[in-house]
Every structure is written in structure tokens, then in C-alpha cells.
Amino acid sequence: MNKSTVVIGGGISGITSALELANSGFRVYLIEREAAIGGQAASFCCKATEVCTKCSVCLVPQSLAKVAVHPRISILTHSMVAGLSGEMGDFKVEVLRKPQYITPERCIACGICAEVCPTEPKAILPPSPEAIPYCYVIDERLCLRLRGEKCNLCQGICPTDAIAFDLKPERQELSVGAIIVATGFEVFNAREIGSLGYGRYPNVLTGLDLERIFNREGYLKLPTNGKEPKNIAFVQCVGSRDESHGYCSQVCCKYAMRFARLIKHQNPDAQVTIFYIDLQTAGKGFAQFYQECRESIRFIRGVPVEILPTPSSELEVRFENISEGKVERETFDLVTLSVGIAPRKDSWDLARILGTNLADYGFFDTKETFNSVETNVEGIFLAGTCQGPKDIPDSIAHGIAAAERVMEVLEKCQ
């Protein structure tokens, strides 16, 4: 019986599963498509005002740091699952690792390579501050060498010989007892709703954009002129509870309210309005927070139908005010679309390789209701948002739950 496990996806659910298994004595291969683990939640920001508002984002770097140094966890970045054979207790997982040019095991993030890179903008980028592994990355589209020219500056100067260009994709086979799928979600592409102007008007942002702005800058500024916005609107249910996404994304009401409070906290003069259909305010630790929100944030039951720029480069929102029963218009200087959680478009490829089923709308399907970690294939389990929308605490719980199920089946098979 093989007691090692492959975890596909290095987001919060995947790393939670990996840690849980590794701490219980199992060997774990963590397969990550990107150059660094951490997934979506690693790019989110702490939303505390003067007190913690329970967004749980701070739990991510903590777990990441533990995964990075765990002796029983091997992290395979730039990798994906290319094939599967065998059965529970004896799976053979074929992993394809794309060349990374800068070897994470050798890169010490000194940044000397980026200094000498001759392109503008630079073809070598520093890792995001919490990236694990903390390793520089080469942008294939900008790198002269990878575009066929003769540049060799970075390779020549790298003090640790971490850079190599003549790399080919590598295939390796892992023998494992069980597999956890934790591939996460895609943020709904707000461009699909053209009338809301995302991608066309720079001051229309998504919730994810806001996460990244706060994560990078620490405060909110208008993309157009860098000033602090004064009048901000949030539009709920963008890409949730509609015909092609017949589910509630579970996270958007909460993040919108937390952002609204954070904005008010940083700039008490700002006016924040939230347009909603049904506010999702239940859940541990949220009822009281919602009551506090009601004191300083304007809630309008209504659905914006169109966003247009005004001559003074503000944004006019036309919305149906349900409570008042009429169509109204109001101007804001920043509109945030609270985009929902959508299944990853490549789930289908992975599901085909693994032989697992996909459910409604494209999330991974479970064997039975209320057993949200088991799939139709014995020995393959689900963790986190690849199975359906979840917030960070729920994703963590799900990650542990999947790990527990793996321990159970592998223990039993012995």
C-alpha cells in the first residue's frame, strides 16, 4: 500500500490538505500549475479596520510558510497532471513540468538578473512578496533569449547558476495511494456582462481587483488619477445566481461589506453604496458585523442594468431600485463588481484525465449529497472551491476533511 498522496493545486485548500496529511506522517506531492503556490487567496488582502473582520486571509501565508519547509511535502511548481493509471492504493500519476528557466531550488531571489536584463519592461520579474517558492520568473514573451536572440546577460551573472535556457518539459511518474483535487476556482469574467463596462471604463473594477489593490497599496485609489475615491458603489451577484450560474457564490456579500467598512474606516468621508438582491449575512461572526455595517453603509435593493461614463469622467449607474419600484440613476467615481466564484474552465480536461464527473455548471461532482469530498472514482477526493463556492474558513475545513478521508482509506487498505 502506497501511503503517499498527490494534491493537485496549491491554493488554500490544497496546502491545508497537504499539511494535514504530512503532519500525520504521509508523503505529499503538491502539484501547482503556477510558478508559486498560494492560489487566489494569496493575492487577497487583510480587511481589518480597527478590529479583525474575520476575512481569514491572514491564515494563508501562515500555512504557506509551513508547507514550504515541511520535509514530507514536495512542491512541484509549473506542473500539471497529464495522465493517470492504476487504482486506489496504487495510482500512477503522470506529471508534466514546464521549464521554468530559473530553478526555484537554486534561486535565492537576489535580483541581480533583473538588474542586468536589457529589455524594457524587464523580462525577469520579482516574485510577489509572499511567493513560495520565493523565486524570480522569466516572462517568455519578453525574454530576448527565448525569442531567439543572443542575449545571455542574466545567465552569465547569476551567482548561483540558477538560470538555464535549454530546458525541455519534463515528465515524471508519481506512485501514490490517493489523489486530492484542489484546483480552486476562476473569478467570473465580468467582461461577459458588457453593459457594466468592465474592461472598458478603468474605474469599473472587480472584487478581485480591489483585493489586489489593497494587497499592493494598502489603500484604494482611482485607477484613472490615483486619487482616493469619494463615492463608491458595489454591485452584488455579478456572475452568481443567474441563468448560467444558478448558485450563490457565498463570498461576495461578505467581501463587499468588509471592503465597504475598510474604505469607510480609511476615509470616513467616503460614501459607500451596496446594490444587492438578497444580502447573505448569516454565518459565524457575521451577524454583528452586518449590524455595524448598516450604520455607515447605504444598502439599496436593486440591480444595476447599465454603467456609463459621464462627461466629467464619473460613472453613471442606472439601476432598478426595487424598494422604490422605479429605475433610477446615480453617479459614482468608482464601481466595484462583486464577481462570483466560477468553476475553472480547464476542469473538464482534468476531469477527463482522472475519470471524475463534473456537476452542474462545471464544478467537480461528488458521489453523494452531503459528502462533499468523495468523487465517483475511489481514491480521488475533492477539496475546496473546485467542488463549489466556499469562503476561506470553509475551504480550510474542506481541505482537512479531504485529508481525513484519504487517511481513512489508506489506513483501511493497509
Binding site: I108, Y134, T160, C248, G325, A401
Partner: protein, 547 residues
Amino acid sequence: MPVKLGLFLCDCGGSLKNIDFPKIRGNLGKLEDIAFVEISHNLCLEEGEKAIASRILRENVNRVVIAACSPALCEDKFMRLLEGLGLNSDLLSIANIREQCSWAHKGDVTEKALEIIRMAINKARLLQGVERGEVPVNKEVLVVGGGFSGMKSSLELSRLGIRTTIVERESTLGGKLKELEGFYGLRTSPNEMFASMTRMIEEDKNIEVFTSAEVARVQGEVGDFAIRIRSGEKESSQSFGAIIFATGYRTEILPQDFELKPGGNIISQQRLVEMLQAPEKLARRPETIGFVVDFSDENSRLPTLSALKNALAVKDKLGSEVYVFCKNLKVDSEGTEKLYREARDRGVVFLKFEEKPRIYGEDGRVTIEARDVLLGEEVTLLCDLLVAEEKALPPEGTKALSSMLNIETDSQGFYQDENVHLYPVASGRKGVFFVGGCRGSLDLGRASTDIASAVGSVHELLSPGGAMVEVEKVKADSQKCRACLTCIRVCPHEAIRLVRVDSERWVAKIYDLACDRCGICAAICPATAIKFEGYSDEQILAEVEAI
């Protein structure tokens, strides 16, 4: 043994150009207790580690200071390296000269780097090292509550080979499973589930059950909780390694929320379920049924789910007209939106209010008046039955148990403090877990996830062969301790107890497995009797001394 210190400086591939490393070496190399100062370019790589290892062995140093990148990045690596060399890994001190020095400032920062390294050296001189040892743990687990969550926790633990004891207050197991009508989307009925789980528990040699019993006292700490179980007049004591609380929730119609007292035509969800189980016994088929949710507050996932489920059951079994009054439909649980859509398609009418509806009873019928925000109009509905929302509340005894455990409840009175570090199921007291309804996970999906994560955490905690811990990393000096109880009062992890040293004296003892190494006790002890090795007063002040 005199201190013999080895100092490694890493210039990160030569990139930390605003620090003059030879100058630092010249300056610090003169210190008497420093055996050597080695400048390296890549301590964190394999060759760097090899260089460290050979130098340490050659010079036979007993303290190591490394000036390099952030300890968040490199500390574990170097600690393991030291361990591999047979040195105690706590004899290491790291100076963060990259992230918090070279990268944080423009211009030459040699002076700052020098000072940071001096701080680390000062600290290193006082480091004593901590042994690792195994603490024996009791592998049996106490499960409090024998409803769905308690039964399932026990069964899952049993499958991992862990023995459990269930303590249930009622005379039979099952809790709410015995009352529910059905689960949406699940073919198994709650009754069948109850029957099969009870049968599995009866047959399971790993599970012992006490019914009509309660927990009378909780003492001790993870690995060895001393529990007194009261069953009628009898009391028994037993030791457990961990405790899972699965005491569920209770539901109640809050009379003050309704103009009319429940009874007559205002009924509970539970009463409706009973009616639906035997529709033939009804004297008259109700023509119109109203449901009200979000009436008392908006923490209404469970009432919403019950209303949707029961609305569909009414459509199936009675064919009545159904109206659901709510403020914000709570659809943020798996499958609820689907349920809502189905209800809507089946003709259930949803009305949304901002102001609380007014409810009157007359002529054996109930009138609901509300302003529906979707229509923008006042709506008056005359219905035969009004199904009131049942608020989920913490079960009786939660307060008593939580004060016995010295654990805070959340703002609604459910178990588990609202601190994200405890999510999903942990508590400040290591080895104590909360699952399902009693911590506010009211839907079956979330409860199931809770259970699995508690079981996983217990398994990790009580891993085979006992737990490896740092022995007496935080320690109360029995000579200095005056048993004033201050540390016991402030410890957020309930890791300190008074123990008897002789017939006269009691002193504080810090339990290694329960302690989470925060140092709150060490900072407050009036007798300065508590020493936190690595962060002792002397060690912290030695760092301060270097400025």
C-alpha cells in the same frame, strides 16, 4: 561550557551591496567568544549548507548566529541543519539583514546591519537549547452529544482506529435526526440514517455510549483530560486525549417576535413536519400556507433551508398555495439556490419585506400584512396556517459547559470564539473541538465538513507513539513561584495548573503539550518565575542592550 560562537554572514549572491561585509567581519571578529566569521554568498543553497556544516564541525562551536534573509524563510532550514549535526537547534540566532535592513533602506546600512547582528549575538550567548521529548497521550476521545454530529464523529474516528465514548443527555441517541422530515437531495430519510448509524455504533467495538448522562467536570489538558461523567446519581471518572463537542442546537419560536403566541394556526416547522408525515389525519386540508423567515434576526440559513424544504413538501403532499415571507433569502449554502429555484418553479410565491410583517389571528385564520418590496405594495395574506421561523439557538447548558471549559462563546452564544485562527473547529484549549450545530454549522453539509476536519485534527494530534514536543520550553521555576494564580488566569490555552510539590506548597506547572508558546504568562508573572527559553526576559533584554 564557555560560549563559542560561529558567525555566518550571507551577502545573498553579492547582491546586498549597501552592506560592507568585510567591515562587519573586521568589527565582530575581534569579539572574544566568536570563533570565526564566515562570509558566504548562498547559505540557503545546498553548497552553503554544506559549508556551514563543515565549519561548525571543524570549529566545534556551541552557538550559531546567521545573518541572512528573513527567518521566516530560512529558520526552519537552518534549525534542521543544526539538528542533523547533533547540535540543539535552539542554539541558533538569526539576524535579518536582507528584508529588514538591506532591502528596506537606501544607502549604506552597514551600521544597522552590524547592530542587528550584535543583537543576535547577544541573544545567542544566552541561548540554552531545549530538548525534544515524547509526551504520552491517551488515544481515547470523548464525544459529547449523540446526535448526527456526535455519532458521525465517533464512527469516523473508529475507522481510523481511535476509540471513543459518547455521552448523550437524552435517553437515546439521534438528536434532531429523530425529528427531521427529510434531507433535500438525499434519498435516505433521517429516520433510516438514524437507524443505520445506531446499528453501526452498537456493533462498533471502538465506541462506548452513555445515555442519560452528562459531563460534570473537565480537568486536565490535551492528551490527558480528566472527565467526570454523571449518569443519574452515579459519577465516574475517566481520562481522554481529546474532546469533541457535538451538542447540537435547539430551535425555538420566540414568542415575543410574534403578535400571537404559537399554537392554533401559528405552527412550528416541526409541527408542520408531523402534519406532513400523516396528511390523512388532518381534519381539513389547508388551502393556503404562509412561511415567515428573517423575522427575529437575519442569521437565518437554517430557517430558510427548512422553509424551502417544507414548502416543497407541502406542494407534494398537500398541494396548498404557499407564500414565503422573508427579508433576504439566505442562499449561501450548497444547493439552496437550486432549491429556491425549484420552489419558485413549483409555484411557491416569495415576498420580501423590509419592515417586519404584522400578524393577526381571526376566525381561525391568520392574516399577514407586509409591504412587499418586489411589488412595491402592501400585501395582505389570509392563510390557514402560518409556519413560524424557528430560530436556532445554542443548546441548554452551553453556558455552563463553556465556563467549565473556560472557553468563550461567539456573539450569538454558540461554542467557539470568533477568532479566525480557531477555524474551522478548534478552540483555544488544545484538544477541545467543536463540530456541527453547537458551533453554528447548522446545515448538514457544513456539519459534515466540520466533523471530518475535527476527526482529521484529532488524528494528527494523537498521532501514534505520543507527541514530540519541546520539553519545558516555557517553564515555571518551582522555587520562585508563589502560586498566585496569575498565569493560570491569563493563559489563553488553559495550559497551566497548580501541582503539589510537597505537603506545604503548590506551584504552577506548564503542560508542554497544551502550551502554545505565546509567552503571555512569562510577561505577567509577578515573581518572574516563568522562563520562556528563546524569548526569556534576559534574552530579549540582551537584544535591547545591543542598540
